[in-house]
């Protein structure tokens, strides 16, 4: 919830270069492959290479282990990453963020399709989990009925994951779409994949969704400061609601505690894997991920060449 905003998301050569922040190392890392350097240069470039690989924590967040120290074990994490890489060799698990539109095809024994596969399209409202248990949830409105599917990213029943529209939203979770008009959660099933030009940043979709009138699934008026993606016309229509909110925000209560979260450095520390360990992980898996991405891009480029991405 309070995680940093994902404005910059590129690794050099791997993904779109961020436009907002200063990322000069991206170009120098490209140059690194062209020339031979002295030892000093190499260490500097290695550092810059590590810095750019640090962006992988946004692109492949499931490769970082759960930071809880009671559950951590180096051998198990290594075996898990090996399994994940092997699975990624079989299908493309693309880069996507909360707010992107995805299409997932799974093998389903109850499917009417003769090949026993079913396809679901939706907007990603949340993603989480670490390692082989990584999951994401897609939401869509089908014939007036809101439907959500939670998929396990490394489940071998998944035949294909396509990103139809790669974009981000203003928040990390979009559960408020459940209390918003249906048009904001609808993704057409026959939507064509929109391929972004090479090297462009991931666009941020800053739609602000107007919520329906109450009742809601959650007390959205309380989290208006935390989520910027929705707007409420009249958050406290009655004096009772105002009083309730005041009580909730009073010192020591939940609302007050939520405000103090941003000052809790130890909480952030406990919930992150140390940088040194992260670098080790990306060193272990980075090469394979990059080469796999190159393969996938070649395939995508061929496809894009044969069939134009946009239809007028």
């Amino acid at each position: 919830m309070m995680a940093c905003r994902l404005t910059c998301l590129a690794g050099q050569g791997l993904r779109r270069v961020c436009s907002g922040s200063v990322r000069q190392f991206a170009s120098t890392s490209y140059l690194r492959t062209q020339q031979t350097e002295s030892e000093e240069d190499r260490s500097v470039n290695q550092e810059q290479h590590d810095l750019s690989r640090r962006d992988f924590r946004y692109i492949f967040p499931e490769f970082l282990p759960d930071p809880k120290p009671e559950w951590r074990n180096k051998v198990r994490e290594r075996l898990e990453r090996k399994d994940m890489l092997q699975r990624r060799e079989q299908i493309e698990i693309p880069e996507f963020y909360v707010g992107s539109s995805l299409a997932v095809t799974v093998s389903d024994e109850n499917s009417p399709n003769p090949n026993k596969i079913s396809r679901f399209v939706g907007i990603c409202i949340d993603r989480g989990g670490t390692g082989l248990r990584a999951w994401f949830t897609l939401r869509n409105v089908v014939e007036g009925q809101g439907v959500e599917f939670m998929y396990q990213m490394y489940n071998p029943s998944i035949v294909k994951i396509e990103v139809l529209r790669l974009e981000q939203r203003l928040d990390e979770e979009l559960y408020y779409l459940r209390d918003a008009p249906a048009e904001y959660s609808t993704v057409p099933f026959d939507m064509e994949a929109e391929i972004l030009p090479e090297g462009s940043p991931v666009p941020v979709n800053d739609t602000v969704v107007p919520l329906n009138s109450r009742p809601w699934t959650r007390k959205w008026e309380r989290y208006a400061m935390i989520y910027s993606g929705y707007s409420i016309e009249n958050p406290f229509p009655t004096p009772g609601k105002v009083r309730r909110q005041m009580r909730w925000m009073a010192e020591g209560n939940q609302g007050w505690q939520l405000q103090t979260l941003k000052y809790d450095l130890m909480r952030d520390y406990r919930n992150t894997v140390p940088m040194e360990e992260q670098d080790q992980i990306w060193e272990e898996v980075g090469d394979q991920l990059e080469s796999r991405d190159k393969q996938m891009r070649r395939v995508a480029a061929k496809r894009a060449f044969v069939r134009p991405s946009k239809r007028i």
Partner: protein, 382 residues
């Protein structure tokens, strides 16, 4: 002679007390299973010798440190000392029992089967195991501990069927610095010539299941698809109420219930036995007891890292705890009855996998129904 036998009788009753049969039979039930008094097994056996050395107060000079290290290196120059002639290796037959291993719980993973179903598995890593000792049955029964127990079968139950068990094999895991331990504890390892181990376990075996002391044990000891029993110490949960400890139902949250939502309620009986019976279930300490998880399947074995993937998340203890893993004793899951898995002729390597067999093994092996991540996505099309 008579005096000796009466002494033994006194010891036997003492031994039986340890299993609380005398205590419970004096009240209202016979076997320990039906007894009202539910005992949990938390303490280490009385015959465990003192293990850890007291820390040395005075500092040791560098020369002496080097000398000590030198001595240790010379003494523990490797397992399977040359003067031992290799023991005969047994052949498997129905009813054989062989030692298990000591494994460390390193975490929990999902794996998927070829029909798409997910199985959560616990990873158990077999770390640095060696066979330490073989104790023949007569040696045990003539010892002080054996006399004290004096049970028909020395496996711990009055099970006459286990007359085929001819001894105990002691297995040790994770070598450490001998300076940490007492002389008595280090002396346990002189037979095998291995360095003192942090953890020890003993397994009752039949004649053909005996393994020579000093033999290393690995994950290849097991076969993918077989069932195992896991013995370990459960997680500590602290002082808990009756609902968590004994599964009581509690009382309604509303409808007038006064201050009794999670309480036990009625505890005593009226009339004749107007007191609380011994063994009444009440709040108390939960966890930290030694239990058996039986009939867990091994879905996958990684021979490179010596890791077993075992069903479920319920292996005892936290991540990092040491458990004993051995072939299951459950009838439906014993070797003879594993027709679907094609394991009716026993384990692939009996009594264990030796060096020449280990060399030929692949890095990893799956039970036949498990989906290998190297193979393409599951397709259910006919």
């Amino acid at each position: 002679m008579l005096g000796a036998s009466t002494e033994l009788l006194a010891v036997r009753s003492l031994g039986k007390l340890l299993h609380l049969e005398v205590l419970s039979s004096g009240l209202h039930t016979t076997s320990s299973l039906e007894s009202r008094i539910k005992r949990v097994n938390r303490h280490k056996p009385f015959w465990h010798i003192r293990k850890l050395n007291k820390a040395i107060d005075e500092p040791i000079t560098e020369e002496n440190q080097i000398f000590i290290q030198d001595y240790i290196d010379r003494k523990y120059n490797g397992p399977l000392r040359e003067e031992f002639t290799p023991w005969a290796k047994g052949e498997w037959k129905e009813g054989s029992r062989r030692p298990g291993v000591l494994a460390v719980k390193i975490g929990v993973h999902p794996i998927w089967l070829k029909n798409g179903k997910q199985v959560i598995t616990t990873l158990l890593q077999v770390q640095d195991n060696h066979v330490i000792k073989y104790t023949p049955r007569t040696n045990f029964e003539d010892s002080y501990v054996g006399q004290k127990f004096n049970i028909a079968s020395f496996t711990g139950n009055n099970n006459k069927k286990s007359e085929s068990l001819t001894g105990f094999v002691t297995v040790g895991a994770i070598s450490t610095d001998p300076q940490k331990y007492t002389k008595g504890y280090c002396g346990l390892f002189t037979d095998s010539g291995v360095m003192p181990k942090r953890h020890l376990a003993r397994f009752p075996v039949t004649d053909n299941g005996v393994i020579q002391p000093g033999t290393p044990l690995t994950a290849a000891h097991f076969t993918p698809g077989q069932f195992v029993d896991v013995y370990g110490r459960t997680q500590e949960r602290g002082f808990q109420g009756v609902m968590k400890r004994w599964g009581f139902a509690g009382m309604p949250a509303t409808h007038g219930t006064t201050k009794s939502h999670r309480r036990a309620g009625h505890v005593g009986s009226g009339c004749d036995k107007s007191r609380i019976w011994p063994g009444q279930k009440m709040p108390g300490w939960v966890g930290g007891n030694y239990t058996w998880m039986r009939g867990l399947r091994i879905w996958r074995i990684n021979y490179a890292e010596n890791v077993l993937y075992v069903t479920g998340t319920a292996v005892q203890g936290d991540v990092g705890s040491v458990v004993q893993v051995c072939d299951t004793k459950l009838n439906a899951k014993k070797w003879e009855n594993l027709k679907k898995e094609n394991l009716t002729s026993g384990p692939r390597f009996f009594p264990t996998a030796y060096e020449d067999q280990l060399k030929e093994l692949p890095e990893e092996e799956y039970y036949s129904v498990v989906h290998d991540f190297k193979s393409p996505s599951i397709s259910l099309s006919p």
